[in-house]
């Protein structure tokens, strides 16, 4: 028995040194290890016969019921100086000062992290209430689907076909089938902009045949595939070379249904609508499941449709967006002259794709060299997100019109919240390592409840990558889910330990209560 005491002291000192070397090391892990040591102690060695056998070094290893769970954060009133003597290592004169400094630093860090998390959590909760109330109101009171007009002066639309996918056969088949596809739209008012890699010979030949079949209606857009060839860049180039008043982004390899174009263009005929974002599940000749998906797509928005199955259709009235930008410039530069319509409700739909933030970001830094009608990619950038956050001061400016305030609010919520979400998540991770697993768990749950999908809607799962994309970060952030999985694993392990510790004490405490449990420096007790 006496031979085990130096080993235990040595292990405790080593663990404390290890904790000092790793500032992010978890105090809870250390304490739980000590607890396990103490739980293992009665089984490894025989129970002490009397209080005389207890050495002064054992005085700090108390197992009162209130101290059994060391993972609990200490009471706020307790200062580091007061708790230092109670700590097991503090009794040793050599390490007396280091743990006090360490725990005061940890406590300060934990307090700062807690304050940071509380601030971000308050904003996230506000967003949660606001967004879910809005989504629920929209979905419960969903208006009828707009009825397609039968006769109108249909505008010319340009369909952008990104053919940079890996399946060149499907892309070539799609291009070859387009000239004979029966759209419910005047054929002379449909222009095609195939975006293809000129190195792909089969697709290039298919595009050439398409240009022969539809003369004057094809604007080929050869772009070498690479890191910079993204849909955002293609959107910009297609917007520049298209002659139509609306741009359709068709990112799917299958043939589109025949009755979607008129239905989708109909809302665009309304002069107040600048862009239409619809998601169509392509119809198949047979299959009840697909019909059910169609119904769900109508009633439940994009809840079921996935990126692989759905057809993303983005119609952007370019002239409307230009007018909108001019209006926004006017509102910001001379807010007194801003007149109706402010277009705030129109631009709300653009917000989910990042258009709005980019729009306002451009407006704020609109230089002399910038063309007034320049429309950039809807992909958000990190700098734009920061600009949108800085624009939050406009919310409190009473001289700004309500419409401009609405736009800024939309931009703020679309740009700042993903950053806040990431900050909250990082605070939770830091809180976990700082020794507050319960707060970290609550924060993780909150982050799960307020995660975002690429459209800005709250999603049911962890949306780290989506939020990072919205915040302007790039593909490096996709490694974060792996961290997330390891974090969940640690979280579950901590919870299991917590539950185990919560259930075991009634059986353990009576036996341990018979042992010398008095704190150091006190007299009396069962032994006395």
């Amino acid at each position: 028995m006496m031979s085990t005491q130096p080993i235990r002291h040595f292990r405790l000192v080593c663990m404390m040194l290890f904790a000092l070397c790793l500032p992010h090391a978890s105090q809870a892990t250390t304490d739980l290890t000590v607890d396990e040591e103490l739980r293992a102690a009665p089984t490894a060695m025989s129970a002490p016969a009397s209080a005389a056998e207890s050495t002064p070094a054992d005085a700090g290893l108390n197992l009162t019921p209130s101290r059994h769970l060391r993972s609990m954060p200490p009471a706020p009133s307790a200062s580091p100086v007061q708790t230092a003597p109670d700590h097991p290592v503090a009794a040793t004169p050599a390490a007396g000062q280091i743990p006090a400094f360490f725990f005061s630093k940890t406590r300060l860090l934990r307090s700062a992290l807690t304050v940071c998390w509380l601030l971000t959590a308050a904003l996230l909760c506000l967003h949660l209430l606001r967004e879910w109330a809005r989504v629920m109101r929209v979905r419960v009171r969903r208006p009828d689907r707009s009825i397609a007009l039968e006769h109108a002066q249909w505008p010319t639309v340009a369909i952008l076909l990104p053919l940079n996918g890996s399946n060149s056969t499907a892309s070539a088949l799609l291009v070859e089938a387009l000239p004979t596809h029966n759209f419910d739209y005047p054929a002379e008012r449909i222009h095609f902009i195939p975006l293809f890699d000129p190195a792909n010979r089969r697709v290039t030949q298919a595009v050439a045949r398409l240009a022969q079949a539809c003369p004057d209606r094809v604007q080929a857009l050869p772009m070498m595939s690479g890191r910079n060839t993204t849909l955002a860049a293609a959107l910009h180039a297609a917007n520049a070379c298209s002659i139509g008043t609306a741009l359709v982004v068709y990112e799917q390899e299958g043939l589109p249904p025949q009755d979607w174009l008129r239905q989708s263009v109909t809302p665009l005929l309304d002069p107040a609508i600048g862009a239409v974002l619809t998601r169509v599940v392509p119809r198949q000749p047979e299959g009840f499941v697909q019909a059910r998906l169609n119904l769900l797509a109508d009633h439940a928005d994009t809840l079921i449709a996935t990126q692989a199955d759905a057809l993303s259709l983005l119609l952007c009235g370019k002239a409307r967006i230009r007018a909108l930008r001019r209006q926004a410039v006017k509102s910001l530069q001379t807010p007194d002259l801003a007149q109706a319509p402010d277009g705030a409700s129109i631009v709300q739909a653009l917000t989910h794709m990042g258009w709005q933030s980019h729009l306002l970001g451009e407006v704020l830094v609109c230089g002399e060299h910038a063309l007034p009608d320049l429309i950039l990619s809807p992909r958000m950038r990190f700098s734009v997100a920061w600009r949108s956050i800085r624009m939050a001061s406009i919310l409190l400016n009473p001289r700004v019109t309500s419409g401009c305030r609405k736009q800024v609010r939309a931009a703020f919520f679309s740009a700042a919240l993903p950053l806040l979400w990431l900050l909250s998540l990082m605070s939770c991770a830091a809180l976990y390592f700082a020794g507050s697993p319960l707060l970290a768990a609550a924060g993780i749950a909150l982050c799960a409840a307020t995660s975002f999908d690429p459209h800005g809607q709250p999603g049911p799962a962890f949306g780290i990558a989506a939020a990072a994309r919205m915040a302007g970060l790039r593909s490096e952030i996709q490694l974060l889910p792996l961290t997330c999985f390891s974090f969940i694993d640690r979280l579950l392990a901590g919870l299991l330990t917590l539950l185990h510790a919560h259930l075991e004490p009634p059986a353990l405490l009576p036996s341990r209560a018979a042992q010398p449990v008095m704190p150091a420096g006190t007299a009396g007790g069962p032994q006395s």
Binding site: W132, M136, I147, L149, E150, Q153, L303, L446, A449
Partner: protein, 358 residues
């Protein structure tokens, strides 16, 4: 915070995070088979008419040919649904028992088809000649290669399709979808829902429609200003006799004076009031009601989710460029002409002079 409270908080937030996003899905699935409103049903009615036309040509072609020579044929198909095929010189009244008010058979005629008054037809009608639906009759659907005449107080409940013209007498009703290749004419007090024809005439037509003189010079005096601002930023009023070459988009109320000429689209979040003899070379969209005075000509589509009141002798669209008139409630005065399609989502009626004056 104790352990149990923290666990409860964690469990609650986790449950909220997992289940709350699924509520719309649960609601959607709990709906079962959706019952779309009438607006969603209407395209199916056009499909029903096309299906019926195809069925007649495929399944009853030889029976119609036989009935031309041998007389009426009665029978039932494999589903047990009865049908009557009439020859050229046969009348439906001869095939009905005396005093009968209900007809459950599919009726096909090689010549003209006359539906007696106050008869209720549960099945569709087809005639290669003209179809005359007498007063107070009720017909489910009618298809003809010639004209179709709907008598006073007669009703068509689903669809009617003619390869020539459709004439609806006073107080007749066409529920559902009506389509004609040439023209649809509705007398006053008629009710309708969805009409589609190159030319749709409402009520008694004037001898000559007013000829609009286009003003080529665009001029517009801004409205009265308050503190150097153009109005209050919500409502806009164009004084009479002006020509505006621009889109007019307001978040409030838009008023167009008499004899104005607008080259552009109109859009108002509330209501639009258009005076008399106004020419609009564009579309008219409003979330609130739209009131159009007499003698107006609108080239583009007119759409409102509330109500559209059309004055006398108005024209929607042109013969060369058909347009769409769509609203929840459509009240159209006599003498109006629409080219293209007219759709009333809730109620459509050709109103009389007295009601229009009110």
């Amino acid at each position: 915070m104790s352990h149990s409270e923290a666990l409860a908080l964690l469990a609650g937030l986790g449950t909220l995070a997992l289940l709350f996003p699924l509520l719309p899905l649960v609601r959607t699935l709990a709906r079962g088979a959706p019952t779309p409103p009438l607006a969603e049903d209407t395209p199916d009615l056009a499909t029903q008419a096309a299906t019926f036309q195809r069925m007649v040509s495929e399944q009853f072609g030889h029976l119609l040919h036989l009935a031309r020579e041998s007389g009426p044929i009665r029978g039932a198909n494999e589903n047990g649904s009865p049908f009557i095929v009439l020859g050229i010189a046969n009348h439906l009244a001869e095939q009905l028992p005396p005093g009968s008010r209900h007809l459950r058979s599919l009726v096909l005629a090689a010549g003209h088809l006359d539906i007696p008054g106050e008869l209720i037809c549960d099945r569709e009608l087809f005639a290669e000649g003209r179809i005359n639906i007498a007063h107070d009759a009720l017909v489910r659907g009618a298809l003809s290669r010639r004209d179709i005449a709907v008598g006073r107080y007669a009703r068509v409940t689903r669809w009617v399709r003619s390869d020539r013209r459709i004439d609806v007498a006073e107080a007749g009703q066409i529920r559902g979808w009506a389509s004609a290749v040439q023209e649809i004419t509705l007398a006053r007090r008629c009710r309708f829902e969805h009409l589609r024809a190159p030319r749709i005439l409402f009520g008694r037509q004037p001898e000559t429609h007013p000829q609009h003189q286009a003003d080529s010079v665009g001029r517009f005096d801004p409205p009265a200003r308050n503190h150097q601002q153009p109005g209050n930023g919500r409502n806009l009023k164009i004084p009479p006799g002006h020509a505006v070459k621009s889109d007019l988009l307001v978040s409030g109320r838009l008023v167009i004076g008499d004899n104005c000429h607008i080259i552009g689209d109109l859009r108002a979040d509330k209501s639009i009031v258009i005076g008399s003899n106004v020419i609009i070379e564009g579309s008219v969209f409003a979330d609130g009601p739209i009131s159009i005075g007499s003698g107006c000509a609108i080239a583009g589509p007119v759409r409102s989710s509330d109500e559209v009141h059309l004055g006398f002798h108005c024209e929607i669209g042109t013969q060369a460029a058909p347009s769409t008139l769509m609203a929840g409630t459509l009240l159209i005065s006599e003498g109006c002409v629409a080219y293209g399609s007219v759709r009333a989502l809730r109620h459509g009626e050709v109103i009389t002079d007295e009601r229009a004056a009110q």
